[in-house]
């Protein structure tokens, strides 16, 4: 049975993630847990939580799941898994064990669920992890993702809150997946561009992270729902620095700028811009379409790495040799009036 998963997704949903400002409201007032072993908690909006077991081991834990972002069930399983696993890589960790989280309509063929789970399993295997089990409930719209446990040496945790003035900023995947997904949902994207975006989303951040860990980078995060602009802002705020973003250097998936020009700007991009703009300065020369691109919510986006300028060339050379995508897209500066300067 052939099905287009995107046809099941609620129209007008735009993007499933609760906005950062809404989430802050919901979390406001809940007691904050402090513990001596808690190395990274929710305060800095980091990619995953880190809990120290002993001097050599710390657990890295994260979860992520969402409704379909592509048409094919097997692709969806792979993308959802790559996206959830990515948070472990962004913290400098390695994947250990995984639990599946799934929701599936009772009236759809189970072969579709099977394809989704197979996609997830294949990616987890590629990541070197083991699926221990999971939980599936019935729901009108399919959803899939993982709860992932990884580990990292407590001294090697990479947070999103340690960028230093003088660092350069490197991204390891092109952006624009939100636009492509929205265009695909409305049948406005050509097949080649769509296929390239799916491949991009399925690509694990494992290789890039392994190279990153060879260098003592200052800070890293993965670019996902808050868009490149939002994640850059979170890094700047968490690190108490400002960041210059060279918008012209930001790598873009093929076809995306044309789609934005048609008006395919997902609602999430507006939401992200609304959240970020009061802390951002946009140079007058920034084209409107490019501004919206920077706010586009990413699924399974690349790593955003902040590294001392003198080490950046070697890191880039290693990424290149390994066949990983990369672009130098910004510079960390001393804290200024705004947190992000887009030029």
């Amino acid at each position: 049975m052939k099905i287009d998963l995107l046809s099941l997704v609620e129209q007008g949903g735009c993007s499933a993630k609760l906005s950062a400002s809404e989430l802050n409201k919901a979390l406001a007032g809940l007691p904050k847990i402090k513990h001596k072993n808690l190395l990274v908690d929710i305060d800095t909006h980091d990619d995953a939580g880190v809990y120290k077991i002993n001097d050599d081991y710390a657990l890295v834990q994260t979860t992520d799941f969402f409704p379909p972002v592509c048409s094919d069930p097997y692709d969806f399983g792979q993308i959802a898994a790559a996206n959830a696993l990515s948070d472990i890589y962004a913290m400098g960790g390695q994947v250990l064990t995984v639990l599946n989280i799934a929701m599936f309509p009772s009236n759809l063929s189970l072969s579709i669920l099977k394809e989704i789970l197979k996609g997830g399993q294949d990616k987890v295997t590629e990541a070197g992890g083991i699926i221990l089990g999971g939980h599936t409930i019935t729901d009108d719209i399919p959803k899939y993702g993982l709860a992932v446990t990884g580990w990292v040496h407590p001294d090697n945790v990479i947070t999103n809150a340690d960028a230093k003035a003088g660092d350069v900023l490197i991204i390891t995947k092109p952006i624009g997946t939100g636009v492509i997904i929205s265009a695909k949902k409305n049948k406005l994207v050509n097949e080649d561009d769509y296929a390239a975006a799916v491949k991009n989303m399925k690509h694990l951040n494992k290789g890039a992270a392994e190279i990153m860990m060879k260098y003592s980078v200052s800070s890293a995060t993965d670019v996902t729902g808050f868009g490149l602009l939002g994640h850059t802002l979170k890094m700047a705020l968490g690190s108490d620095v400002s960041i210059k973003l060279y918008s012209g250097k930001v790598p873009v998936l093929k076809g995306v700028m044309e789609l934005i020009d048609l008006g395919i700007i997902p609602g999430a991009a507006f939401r992200n811009l609304e959240y970020a703009e009061k802390d951002c300065f946009f140079d007058d020369t920034i084209d409107y379409n490019r501004k919206m691109l920077l706010a586009d919510a990413q699924t399974s986006g690349g790593l955003l790495i902040s590294i001392a300028a003198e080490k950046a060339n070697s890191l880039v050379a290693d990424l290149k040799q390994a066949g990983e995508a990369f672009s130098v897209i910004g510079k960390v500066i001393d804290k200024a009036e705004k947190s992000v300067y887009v030029e």
Binding site: G12, K25, L262, I264, G267, F270, K278
Partner: protein, 203 residues
């Protein structure tokens, strides 16, 4: 001649796609009317047009919103539509509340602050909440961290009231980072709102 584009029932971002297409294809001074029934889409299309320097006339027609504009960006003059609007739609117009201070009335400071809480509690209960609530000068205290009425305002926001705080005021009192509800606005937007609403309540 007005080009009418009906995107009711169309999900985001189709209304925006239709808007851009209409702009591209229209003559310089041709009026374009987009009919939308999703509030999110209205917000996003308005935001798009505004960011691109196009002035928009917004009106409510039944369950839908109509956005009228033209390519050259100047605010459209629509006598016919305006007349229609004024006569049959007047009861349907929303209202705006402006908090120029953080208390209600003159007299006891404590009482004044309690009354603000009472007023907002009542407002939350009402079926008709303000379209927009604007905070100026000491009024900004209501939307800052630690404000006793923050929850009420957030509830009003969730019921559809847009909370707008004067950016210059936040700067002046150095409270920019303590803003806990709504978003930062500026005098251009605030003035635009005050002049476009017929019902503005000043506190």
């Amino acid at each position: 001649m007005m080009k009418v584009i009906d995107v009711r029932g169309k999900a985001c971002p189709l209304p925006l796609i239709a808007t851009k297409k209409a702009l591209k294809e229209s003559d310089k001074d041709e009026l374009i009317k987009i009919v939308i029934d999703s509030e999110t889409s209205v917000k996003n299309v308005m935001r798009y047009l505004k960011d691109n320097g196009i002035k928009v006339k917004q009106q409510i027609a039944g369950d839908s919103f109509e956005l009228i504009f033209n390519k050259d960006g100047e605010e459209p003059v629509i006598e016919e539509a305006e007349a229609y609007c004024a006569s049959s739609q007047s009861d349907d117009q929303g209202f705006v509340v402006v908090f120029g201070k953080d208390k209600l009335g003159e007299g006891s400071e404590d009482l004044g602050k309690m009354l603000v809480g009472g007023m907002l509690t009542t407002m939350v209960e009402e079926e008709r909440t303000p379209d927009k609530i604007i905070f100026l000068n000491s009024g900004i205290n209501l939307v800052l961290k630690g404000s006793p009425v923050l929850n009420l305002l957030i509830e009003l926001e969730s019921k559809g009231s847009e909370l707008l705080t004067c950016g210059a005021c936040l700067d002046y009192y150095d409270e920019m980072e303590n803003l806990k509800a709504g978003r930062v606005s500026n005098m251009v937007e605030i003035l635009d709102i005050l002049t476009s609403y017929s019902k503005v309540i000043n506190i």
